[in-house]
Subunit: 327 residues, 2 copies
């Protein structure tokens, strides 16, 4: 019997051989990594180039992920398959043809927005949410055609509901939690999560402290009971992990994520002037070696072995297999 | 028994449904098409986008070619597999990481120069040829690593000999003829062709009138006798066709090819002020429907059936199979 899949639906670490070794130690077979926040197309390509060098220099640890089958190869050879994603549509600029180009370069997830209004939809920090734009409708159809998954993790309510409805294929919220557990602006309403999962979409549970009840002090038990409750509400088969692990990042990076080039004034996003940097991770999930803690926590919360295996990776595997290939 | 392969080593047509139908009528299973002369990376990506739309709109005629196996699919389904190439290294700009990116986007051939000095090597219109540059050596190694074929069709003598020698894998001259048959600046010396083929490199014979003895009036017999003589000198297994067909192009395009943005003055390249546009093709090869004329001409020139099948496509097929994949 093969080891059950262990897949992380989102990370944005300051990548290093140390972290690659921790992924191996933690038995992580696949990870969706963010390679763009505010980057133009050409700037995003530089990030792909950077990953190509990692793949060349660390062939024992890493491989590029394009299809679900690559996860099996990675699992069989003790490596991690890396799948690319964007947290903002900035890399496609105003050019719908870049959707397929980005997919050719390995992109498998793209958020329609990152906090602000984009050309496609509205982010969760805007006061008004007029929904999916004209270009947004065209781009969703094109993403569906080529196999680039719509991710609404940072989007506003109406835009998210409309994207779920407009898309011909299931969409994802790769890294967020239910607002009924912790009412943060980035967490999602019950209505959104019901609509998402009713259409076969996936929710990846975040361990980023701003998304957790009690922040960095959140207990593993509370986190796992929230997942068990979500399984009751939305079906365990539509759930996965999306840690949002931002390991070893300097605070300059969170500034780029929040402000990019769009403002001359500082915007603290989920943080505050007093707590502007990356918050400390909870002790039960400090890095990739701690996935076993979540797995045990889910068992202790009463989930079945099948449900635990699905949430830890099997469900993402199925979703990747169905949604990364052209229609 | 399958139809023998029919593969063209280079075309740069003003693409249209008419030409796609002519490729089907001519039984062309694969063609290497030029998508860049002086384009930057981003401008080249726009050309890939344009081809992606052709593939989407003409699925009965075309498919993207990435590997030799795609030629078998195209042949089995009556389509043409289209492989991308650049006649200049401008799309990689000054960034060696773009070599792998371009390969990911489908590029399979890249000339190190187009007539002028480039960052990598020297073109055949320069007065001096100092050989392959520092960056050129690095880029050749990277092209070999990822499976992007070095093409020296427009390069100068010393640069070409050095590229053949530096490269770990065979290189190609996709579209040119021997200078001993027609001493044009773009045609290649016996020394270059011997060195090329001794290392397993391929020569694609051009039908572009400036490369032909007697230009547009060149006879099919003369062309095919030249190929038979080349088979004696270099081995039939290292020979193919690279028509350089520039069908239906307006003269504005030949101006872009020759002058790009590098000069404010007109440069006529192989043409003259009196004959500045595309010259008329010989009557025995006006478009893709006429490959059968060349095939028959080769038989009449005394080549064996095996040699004819190899030159018409089998040799390119083998070369694609061996050289388009990473090391």
């Amino acid at each position: 019997m093969s080891t059950p899949y262990r897949i992380d639906g989102l990370q944005y670490a300051n990548w290093s051989p140390k972290i690659f070794a921790q992924m191996a130690e933690g038995g992580v077979h696949a990870v969706h990594v963010t390679i763009a926040y505010h980057e133009t197309f050409r700037e995003m390509v530089l990030q792909v180039e950077r990953w190509n060098r990692y793949f060349e220099q660390h062939p024992d640890r890493l491989m590029m992920g394009r299809t679900a089958a690559d996860i099996d190869t990675a699992r069989a050879t003790g490596r991690t398959a890396v799948f690319f994603g964007f947290q903002n549509p900035s890399p496609i600029e105003d050019d719908i043809g870049l959707v397929e180009i980005c997919h050719s370069l390995g992109a498998r997830f793209m958020q329609l927005t990152y906090n602000n209004q984009s050309l496609l939809a509205t982010g969760c920090y805007e006061d008004e949410d007029p929904g999916v734009t004209r270009m947004g409708r065209q781009v969703i159809a094109e993403m569906n055609r080529v196999g680039l998954v719509v991710d609404m993790s940072h989007s506003a309510e109406r835009s998210t509901l409309e994207a779920i409805d407009i898309a011909r294929r299931p969409i994802a919220i790769t890294h967020a939690n239910p607002a009924w557990w912790h009412p943060a602006r980035r967490n999602k309403s019950d209505a959104v999560l019901r609509a998402l999962t009713a259409r076969g979409g996936m929710l990846g549970f975040s361990v980023y402290p701003h998304h957790l009840r009690d922040g960095s002090a959140c207990s593993l038990q509370s986190f796992c009971e929230m997942i068990a409750e979500s399984a009751d509400r939305y079906g365990a088969e539509n759930l996965g992990i999306g840690t949002d692990l931002c390991q070893d990042q300097p605070d300059s990076v969170v500034k780029w994520m929040r402000v990019g080039r769009w403002s001359k004034e500082i915007d603290y996003g989920e943080g505050t002037a007093d707590n502007a940097g990356f918050p400390p991770m909870p002790g039960w999930f400090e890095d990739n070696r701690h996935f076993g803690n979540i797995e045990n926590g889910l068992r202790n919360a009463g989930l079945s072995e099948d449900d635990v295996a699905g949430i830890m990776g099997g469900n993402w595997y199925r979703f990747f297999a169905e949604n990364f290939v052209p229609e």
